[in-house]
Amino acid sequence: MSTVTITSKGAHELYLEAYNVTPDAFAGKTAAEIAEIECHEGNYKGTLGEYFDIAGSAGATAEETTIIVNGDCKKIKRIGQKMSAGNVIVEGDCDMYIGGWMQGGKLLVKGNVDSFCGIAMAGGELTVEGSAQNHVGSAYRGDWRGMTGGVLRVKGSVGNDIGTFINGGTIIIEGDAFIHVSTHGEGGTIIVKGNVEGRVGGQMVKGDVYVYGDIKYMMPGFKYVDEVEAEVDGETAKFAHYIGDLGERHPKRKGQIVYGNIYKKL
């Protein structure tokens, strides 16, 4: 495993589109070569060397590469976008689209992130130690193909539109969420350990949502069915089980109608 450390110079006026800060793009390159990789600030096409001090060198493949991102990254977007393997560690806060379309590897952000983190994630592990804004693990705007795999964990709280069109994988929010959780859900699992304001499972067809705290306003399209015991994120607990969204179409499997499930901790 080889490590590249990049340190933001922090002097850019607009937001930096750092879509190439990935083990995939860095693999096989020296610090000098990494400095030549393209990025965008507004409509200006620049190089990573203009925005970061770069030290160390990458491994031969993405798998063998760790990237450590230092400095002020509050205006840097798209770190780890589409990454397929290796490690990225962001030491502080960063901006939108962190780990979007991620396919594999591990991405750790030690601070807070803005919106759209892990959108349409397909694999790998994305962990945010701080809080996140909106559209965590959602589908891209307008798209019906949401998250399909991987584990997305936010240790703090999140905003709205969590896991829209989720179809697979797991989202774990250790703090609170605001509104719209698993809207249009077609599969996958979302766990919220804190409270949710409301609109959980709107137009949900399939998949599971676990809420440990309160759901202030439950959707009218969900019906209580029974009480179940389940193991969630390593601990076992009892939950009230609701099915829905009853206003939505639901497919049949082996003669049984498939519903979306909300489990509220008892």
Partner: protein
């Protein structure tokens, strides 16, 4: 006063019967001239290359409100698929429904000069003309949609062809349109009552007229006015198993009708995207190709033409004035859906669609399109379209050409299908050895389409006096590439594209843009008192706009080129 000569290319010009002969093409002041007239100026060496007129697309959806709904509805169509600003171009957005700029550049890169927007809702014609203005390089015409128009349904029910002709000529002037488009005749209006017209004899509620009467009346109206293009029909029952029967019934309505026009077209009915209308079977289980039956009939008829609507097996956005069909499609795929009613005139629906290579039905659709083109006897009447973006984006034309020109390319794809055996059982594509040649491709993409649209005095050929639109492709007809991918790549990136005498594309890159033109039909047949009163009354009673605000004013239409026509029947 610019001059240019294109030397030593292999020229394919079906309008002049030129089949790959080595010939020089002269250009002077934006027009084709005899090569001997060019004394100075730029010389383009086309030796070892194929030279054709600029492409003419007879049926595409690139400008106007439903296209814009498609753009708004699908931000994901732009994701990772947009080109950033390049030296000579503005930013380009989108794949299935590209932005106006992306559209103009992409057609030019493929060597196209002219496209016909196949569905203009009359009420929204100002928007259509605004987008024509904003589409670089291409000359564009648009067809007002009339298959469910209240005026027409009332006149045609009474058999009043002259009144209908007066209204139609007025509507062409009001909207700056080129000809009559008819979509799901009567069915779109019936949908306002929650119904549809699935055969040509299903009566339209309230209006009590049938699709058969609408289509026949529109053909008669078209010939009465002597319009440059024929009636352009998207018939009833599109896209359903068994649609071939309905289509044959529709085509038979043209039997015995002769054309009367000064523009050189021979057909009285153009059936668009025939692929969607050539389905056999009774449901999706026994869904099969009816291409043989369709072409057995079409090949015998002198007075009909068609474009194919090739399925390209892509993710795309369907959009049509066939509102009930889009509703039906949304219930099949549960994706996004938009619908619009256009007052007394028409409607539209928009639904994204994924033609999945692993779906038996999609693969059969793919095969049917190719079969129609390979069974056609006369490629002047069989045109290359994808009904963009309905069956696939127009940027796939080079791929379709590859399939038409190479059995190897078709077979490789066919045998890679998950349900190849079932697809082979339901189609005849595997048994077909025919490979089209460059002359037939030129017929399908420029000469035939220009002739059918009635603009072959200006477009689609390389005769002196015509507009200097010339496409040069890196293909040597005497040494065609063994690898079919090279055919696709040559047609994707024209070596040169010359528009009105200006080199706009070189080696597949856009290097310049030219002012584009709007082509429309100025039918001189006048309004009579009765029709004038009908128009005033309908606007007063039913329309949400005033008549005075309805007609496109001249300043709103960009660089107009009117095709002037006196009614031969008047």
């Amino acid at each position: 006063m610019s001059e240019m000569i294109i030397k030593n290319g292999f020229v394919f010009d079906p309008l002049a019967g030129i089949k790959g002969e080595k010939k020089d093409i002269g250009i002077k002041d934006g027009k084709i001239v005899d090569a001997s007239e060019v004394k100075k100026g730029k010389e383009i060496d086309a030796s070892g290359k194929t030279v054709m007129a600029g492409g003419v697309d007879i049926h595409t959806h690139v400008v106007g409100p439903k296209v814009n709904v498609g753009r708004l509805m699908r931000p994901e169509d732009k994701l990772f698929r947009s080109r950033t600003k390049e030296r000579n171009t503005r930013m380009q957005m989108g794949f299935a429904v590209p932005s106006t700029y992306a559209t103009g550049y992409a057609y030019a890169r493929m060597g196209y000069a002219y496209v016909n927007e196949a569905a203009m809702p009359p009420l929204h014609s100002p928007h259509v003309h605004e987008e024509i203005r904003d589409t670089p390089i291409l000359d564009i015409s648009a067809m007002p949609v009339m298959g469910n128009n209240w005026f027409q349904m009332e006149y045609l029910k009474q058999g009043e062809i002259e009144n209908n002709a007066a209204y139609t000529a007025w509507l062409l002037r009001a909207t700056k349109g080129i000809g009559i488009k008819c979509v799901n005749p009567g069915g779109t209006e019936a949908w306002g009552w929650g119904m549809n017209c699935l055969t040509i004899h299903d009566p339209v509620p309230y209006f009590d007229i049938t699709p058969a009467e609408i289509v026949k009346g529109q053909i008669q109206t078209n010939e009465f006015l002597g319009l440059p293009h024929s009636l352009h029909v998207h018939g009833n029952n599109l896209g359903n198993p068994g649609s071939a029967e309905t289509t044959l019934d529709t085509l038979k309505l043209a039997e015995g009708i002769t054309t009367n026009n000064k523009f050189g077209r021979e057909q009285v009915l153009h059936n668009t995207h025939l692929q969607f209308h050539s389905y056999g079977g009774t449901g999706w289980g026994d869904f099969e190709s009816a291409s043989q039956k369709m072409m057995d009939y079409v090949n015998k008829q002198k007075n009909i033409s068609f474009d194919v609507g090739f399925v390209t097996l892509d993710e795309t956005t369907t959009m049509t004035a066939d509102g009930p069909f889009e509703y039906h499609l949304n219930h099949l795929n549960h994706l996004k859906w938009a619908n619009v009613d256009v007052e007394l005139e028409t409607a539209a629906g928009v639904v994204p669609f994924v033609y999945d290579k692993n779906s038996k039905v999609c693969d059969i659709q793919w095969a049917i399109g190719l079969e129609l083109a390979l069974l056609a006897k006369d490629h002047m009447k069989c045109h290359l379209t994808t009904d963009h973006p309905n069956a696939g984006p127009f940027t796939r034309y080079p791929r379709v050409i590859k399939w038409l020109m190479s059995k190897q390319a078709r077979d490789e794809l066919l045998h890679s299908f998950k349900y190849a055996d079932k697809v082979i059982d339901a189609t005849i594509i595997e048994s077909m050895d025919r490979e089209l040649d460059l002359y037939e491709i030129a017929q399908m993409t420029r000469a035939g389409t220009a002739k059918c649209l009635g603009i072959s005095n200006m477009y689609g050929g390389l005769t002196p006096g015509m507009n200097a639109n010339v496409a040069i492709y890196d293909l040597n007809p005497e040494d065609m590439p063994k690898d079919p991918e090279m055919i696709e790549s040559a047609f994707s990136r024209a070596a040169y594209m010359i528009k009105d005498g200006v080199v706009v594309v070189e080696n597949g890159d856009v290097i310049a843009t030219t002012p584009r033109k709007t082509i429309w039909t100025d039918a001189k047949y006048p309004l009579n008192e009765l029709v004038e009163r009908d128009i005033r009354e309908k606007f007063l009673k039913y329309y949400t706009v005033e008549l005075e605000n309805y007609m496109v004013f001249d300043d709103h239409v960009y660089n107009t080129v009117p095709l002037e026509v006196e009614s031969p029947a008047a």
